[in-house]
Amino acid sequence: MNRVLNLVHRDPLASDDLTTCLRLCAPGDAVLLRGAAVTAALEGADCDRPEGVRWYVLADDLALYGLGLRALRADVAPIDYPGFVQRVLECELCQSW
């Protein structure tokens, strides 16, 4: 079974991208939050947490949105672009939402 890296960019409070994506996730998959979706990485953000799914947030976009100094969810790891590349290489598949 191939692992999927899910790229989510729309704000989950204004779109259904993230919830749709999470419905289809399997253990071993990853979710990378970028663009306005970085808001879902903040501490207290309300979303499903399917088991075995790794969470990342693009640190550059957190900073761009002025959220770089805010506390993040404990299960979300901030990454830079080289980290983004590594996450892509770790997963066989990539799905953009």
């Binding site: 191939n2 259904d16 749709t20 419905r23 289809l24 290489l89 598949l93 799905q95 939402w97």
Partner: protein, 126 residues
């Protein structure tokens, strides 16, 4: 993108296209179907899955509706070109109250778990 060692991935043949765009809201929905047609022309094993608002593409405009930009012909031709699978998410059909027997294209309705499994068996997501 390729890792440094261009390995034996020429056998990548099972591809899936996720269709989530509502129709008539831009050229995206239609252009995603063009991509499906091209993959079929290259004789790949192509599956498509309608998710969320994408299931609205499966409805035929009413007779007499101004035919502004209907990509129904392209959609309808997919079985002729040997598409491997046409799937729709049960949850999406339920939320949009769409009867799976009244669609412009025969679809296999799947739950999220089965759909997830299917996605994870692909070689490429286009």
């Amino acid at each position: 993108m390729s890792a440094v060692d261009p390995s034996a991935n020429r056998a990548a043949r099972r591809v899936m296209v996720v269709l989530r765009d509502p129709p008539h809201g831009g050229a995206r929905a239609r252009e995603r179907i063009d991509l499906v047609l091209m993959a079929l022309a290259l004789e790949l094993e192509v599956s498509i899955v309608f998710l969320g608002a994408g299931v609205l593409q499966l409805l035929r405009p009413d007779a007499g509706a101004d035919s502004v930009h209907d990509h129904g012909a392209a959609l309808g031709s997919l079985p002729l070109y040997g598409i491997h699978g046409v799937y729709a998410e049960a949850e999406a059909l339920r939320r949009y109250r769409i009867d799976p027997d009244a669609l412009r294209l025969p679809v296999t309705v799947l739950g999220a778990a089965e759909l997830g499994a299917l996605i994870h068996r692909q070689d490429r997501l286009l």
